[in-house]
């Protein structure tokens, strides 16, 4: 941990290799053309924020990265593996890609702790002691250690979402995907979740964040994509894009949301 932090300013050559790469990704849902040829390369410790109007394909793009949606056309690479290849072991790949959903999707019949330990035991084959210790560490990391034995139904949306983040983090993923994780929350609960995400970004986690939180996008993102009508219309430095939007579509979008 310490060394990787120190190495940050002078990025090593290895880190320059993209962690995730998309090549000409298209996605059709029936006749609906949702992604129209998306190319993207994410480096380690990138915080890529994806903004754009609803229906523009943001969530679908994110879900293609973890292969929850299979691209109709194009390739997705994770490190040096083509995970769109039919022979790719997606279950193994997904252990390296943490995903957090808008609707939390915690398992309601399990305690917070069990939500986190389940995959550690069943997928990573950790012993129950190891899984317990790792889960408690991650719950503490998101400030939910005191609610380890609570059921999701007993917790607020913000608390549930933090546990969902801990569940993903416990797998020690190489990249975290956030799919509008604050959109379902009451306004007063958004802050506690964003705080956790900001801390993660500060610790050097590679993240891809679909969000409507423009403040977060501007301050935390290292790179921003503006996705509209299934295409990346504009990408670059978040601040740059906010203050000097080049395309009309982005200008129009920013006028509406800011």
């Amino acid at each position: 941990m310490e060394s990787s932090q120190a190495a940050r300013p002078s990025a090593a050559p290895a880190a320059r290799q993209p962690l995730i790469r998309l090549e000409g990704v298209h996605k059709w849902f029936g006749n609906l053309h949702v992604l129209k040829g998306v190319d993207l390369a994410m480096l380690q410790r990138d915080v890529v924020v994806v903004i754009g109007p609803s229906g523009g394909g943001k969530s679908t793009l994110l879900r293609c990265v973890s292969m929850l949606e299979e691209p109709t056309l194009g390739r997705v690479w994770f490190e040096d593996r083509d995970i769109t290849d039919i022979r790719a072991d997606l279950n193994e790949v997904r252990t390296h890609i943490g995903m957090v959903f808008q609707a939390y999707n915690l398992f309601p019949h399990m305690t917070a702790l069990r939500n986190v330990t389940l995959a550690l035991e069943k997928v990573l084959n950790l012993s129950s002691e190891e899984a317990h210790d790792r889960a408690m560490d991650q719950l503490a990391r998101v400030g939910m250690g005191h609610k380890a034995n609570a059921y999701p139904g007993q917790l607020s949306g913000g608390q549930q979402q933090r546990i969902a983040i801990a569940r993903a983090l416990a797998m020690k993923p190489k990249v975290m995907l956030f799919d509008e994780v604050t959109s379902a929350l009451d306004p007063e609960l958004v802050g506690e979740v964003l705080e956790v995400m900001i801390r993660l970004a500060g610790e050097g986690m590679t993240m891809m964040v679909v969000t409507h939180e423009m403040g977060f996008a501007r301050e935390v993102g290292t790179r921003m994509l503006f996705l509209d009508d299934g295409q990346i219309v504009e990408e670059g430095e978040p601040k740059d894009m906010f203050y000097n939007p080049k395309s009309d579509r982005l200008r129009l979008f920013l006028d509406k949301v800011l």
């Binding site: 252990t95 999707n105 398992f107 389940l118």
Partner: protein, 382 residues
């Protein structure tokens, strides 16, 4: 006096257009209750009175085709006579009168009652009054038809003496059939239900064929042919009772499969995605995330299936099971054909109700609990 004075009227308040408050809410309620009670009490009183008294076979009964040779003729006669008794008649007509008053007053005035409680009293009184009228009319109709014949055939318990142990054995056999069928059906249904959800047609198709076959043919056909299909088709010689349990399991499996499929489909898609996103395989996700949640949701419909199955076990009466293997219904049929007394069927119905009513209560309680949304927390156990 000053203390009880009405509060000052607000001069700006809109005019009161609610009209005068209706009187007598409590009276209507009492009338309605009385109507029903009088009818029931008169019948029960006469019946008990005749049953306890030491009467003989009356000429009236003999005219109604109850003969001295009939086993239990006096008991039957008592029931018939009690029905014609002046006390019963008085109760019936009084009940109709009281009920009519309650119905007219309640229906006419409930809208003008000045509190929710009084309105409820008026409505309850009117409804009870109507029920009292209907019950009284039903009894009048019944006793004007052939109460002698009916009672002789359905309410003559004298022939059932000595059948107590047989009925208990029958009830145990019925429960064995139903329980064995349900447990086997749940196992078959869970597997089939998961198969029908496969994205592959080659996996779905056999499950669908199985389900459609067992849902599409009569259970009685399956029971009658099952024994010989096993024997001639596969050389498997099993006891007829065991074959019956097997058929019930296979049949219930088809219905349970649909219940499980619906239960699994009712779990939000995000649950599967969340499980897959932490690297679980499809089967792991099913096993740890989806099925445990679905099982809670399918408990009420599965218990419902169980109640249906208990009643359907009566179909084994076509199999000619040996006496020790007889279920309630087979036993009742045998008793009836030996004595020409259908009271065996009356007792059989009571025996089924003794088993099914508590279960129906449990189903309703489970559904209520599920609707309350507490299952995720309280139902999760340790």
């Amino acid at each position: 006096m000053a203390i009880t004075e009405a509060p000052p009227v607000n001069p700006d308040a809109p005019p009161d257009v609610r009209g005068p408050t209706a009187p007598l809410p409590a009276t209507i309620l009492v009338l309605g209750v009385a109507a029903l009670v009088v009818v029931v009490a008169a019948i029960v009183f006469s019946q008990v009175n005749y049953a306890l008294s030491d009467r003989v076979l009356t000429q009236n009964c003999i005219n109604l085709e109850i003969s001295r040779e009939d086993n239990g003729a006096v008991g039957v006669c008592n029931i018939v006579e009690a029905l014609q008794d002046p006390v019963t008649s008085a109760g019936l007509y009084l009940g109709i009168g009281l009920g009519a008053v309650a119905l007219v007053l309640g229906a006419g005035m409930y809208r003008r009652m000045d509190s929710k409680r009084r309105r409820d009293d008026a409505i309850t009184g009117a409804v009870l009054g109507a029920q009292g009228i209907l019950l009284a009319l039903l009894i009048l109709w019944f006793r004007s038809a052939s109460p002698g014949l009916f009672t002789k055939h359905f309410l003559n318990f004298a022939d059932l003496e000595g059948y107590g142990g047989a009925f208990v054995r029958g009830a145990i056999n019925t429960l064995k059939l139903a329980f064995g069928g349900e447990v086997g059906g749940i196992v078959i249904g869970l597997v089939l239900g998961v198969l029908t959800l496969s994205s592959r047609r080659v996996v779905r198709a056999p499950a669908r064929i199985y389900i459609n076959f067992f849902r599409g043919t009569p259970l009685i056909w399956q029971l009658i042919t099952g024994y010989f299909v096993l024997l001639f088709g596969f050389g498997i010689h099993l006891d007829a009772f065991v074959v019956a349990v097997l058929i019930f399991a296979l049949n219930t499996g088809a219905y349970a499969a649909e219940v499980f499929r619906a239960g699994i489909q009712s779990i939000e898609r995000g649950q599967m995605e969340a499980a897959r996103s932490v690297g679980m395989s499809y089967l792991q996700a099913m096993r740890y995330a989806i099925v445990p949640q679905a099982v809670r949701r399918v408990i009420p419909p599965l218990m419902n299936e169980f109640v249906i199955l208990i009643k359907d076990t009566a179909l084994v009466s076509v199999l000619g099971l040996t006496l020790n293997n007889s279920d309630i219904f087979t036993l009742a049929r045998e008793g009836q054909s030996a004595t020409f007394n259908a009271t065996f069927f009356t007792v059989a119905a009571i025996a089924y109700l003794v088993v099914t009513l508590p279960l129906i209560g449990l189903v309703n309680a489970a559904e209520k609990r599920l609707r309350s949304g507490l299952v995720g927390i309280a139902g999760a156990g340790g």
